[in-house]
């Protein structure tokens, strides 16, 4: 039995729901660090960045699920919804810290969204993720139908790409980190254009269709 099969068998025992718990606990723990002065003397900016970075990291993981299955046969598809919703939670937290704790006024929030391109695209990415978060449940899939639901959820691609550009655009100078994230996102999106091999573990043919 190869590694992919062994891993897939192991993950069958591990449910997806703890992902939500871990995400919520992580966000809460970071907030508590900020409140208790453990994120340094400027906790608002620190919290803003920590939530934003976490969101991007989890979104990269979400984008990696399908290529991982196609190219290695390792299927983490059962965790993807939980990861996506958790990532949205971090994006929401990032947005709320920025809007409520950092800018503190509707006029400033509106002004920044209109005037600052990196904020415009970040906000755009946030808006794109809202319908995806709302429809991340079985009832919505039934209601929309699988094809329409999948089409809608392709919004993930531009949203994550905009999120990564948002990161590159906001830094001063040329640090490597944001470019690595942007590179990873572009790579994971480009992989989807590469003609696919048959899944290594030729298990369920219909899974190929659902998991793009």
């Amino acid at each position: 039995m190869d590694i992919a099969q062994r891993l897939n068998r192991a993950t069958r025992q591990v449910p997806a729901w703890p992902v939500y718990l871990i995400g919520a606990a992580w966000a809460g723990w970071l907030f508590w660090l900020g409140v208790s002065g453990q994120l340094g003397p400027e906790p608002i900016n620190a919290l803003e960045r920590r939530y934003g970075l976490l969101a991007l990291q989890v979104l990269v993981a979400v984008l990696a699920v399908t290529p991982l299955r196609v190219w290695t046969g390792i299927s983490l598809i059962k965790y993807r919804r939980a990861l996506g919703v958790t990532a949205f939670g971090f994006v929401l937290a990032h947005f709320l810290v920025w809007a409520v704790l950092d800018l503190q006024s509707l006029a400033r929030i509106g002004g920044e969204i209109v005037k600052r391109p990196y904020i415009t695209i970040g906000f755009g990415a946030f808006l794109m993720l809202i319908p995806l978060a709302i429809t991340s449940n079985n009832a919505s899939i039934r209601k929309l139908g699988g094809a329409a639901w999948r089409r809608l959820h392709k919004l993930t691609y531009p949203a994550v790409l905009l999120g990564a550009i948002h990161f590159v655009w906001l830094v001063k100078g040329y640090p490597m980190e944001p470019f690595l994230y942007l590179g990873a996102v572009i790579f994971l999106l480009a992989l989807r254009l590469v003609p696919k091999r048959k899944p290594a573990a030729r298990s369920a043919p219909q899974a190929t269709a659902t998991a793009r």
Partner: protein, 267 residues
Amino acid sequence: AALAMAGGSARAQGLEPNTLEQISTYNNYYEFGTGKDDPAAYADALVTDPWAITVDGMVDRPGEYALADLMSGLTVEERIYRFRCVEAWSMVVPWNGVELADVLDKVGVQSSARYVAFETVVQPENMPGVARQVIPFPYVEGLRLDEARHPLTLLATGIYGQPMPKQNGAPIRLVVPWKYGFKSIKSIIRITLTDTQPPTTWNRLNRREYGFYSNVNPEVDHPRWSQASERRIGGGIFSSRQDTLMFNGYGDQVASLYDGMDLQENY
């Protein structure tokens, strides 16, 4: 010396200095990394003793000065200044230092000089950020001669009466309180008097975002963020923003330096 009261008047304006802990744990010093806590984590390795400063260009007495020689005979004063970073955060820092003008008098500025250029030390083996080239090193900055000679402009060697923490630019750094913090170059090893406007690091990196003057100005936004308000460091997670003051609150003393200049143009 004319502004020896600056510290006292700062207190009178209700300026409560930040704690040394805050001042020395939230820093931009990219030679040690881009994180705000990187300088405090890594600057320990910086070798600051012995320290020599090369003074060259249009001066009567050029040469390599030991730090102690450059400072000898000058009075170190306490100046409590607002410090406003271009990233829209601010602190209040009780600096100890000498007026740059006094140091310039010591080396004898020639009449042809119009600008002062500064350079930060580069110790690649002691500065983990240097290899990453996030910005080009050595870090360079500059002032117009009249700005450099202004009595508010300091060469600072300490904070709270203690030697300058390495992460804050030990052993000697510039402090120009009416300009964004990046003008106040750290760990100076070269001072050059020149008749042409010297290159400055952030301006070279992004001309549109960082001008040569970089005076604190709430009406001229950074292209990517507003400069109209700022956050005082140390207020915690629910602290409110405060309005940014023209020339960081030092307009009555420095505005005349820019008489007749369009500050939107010369940002």
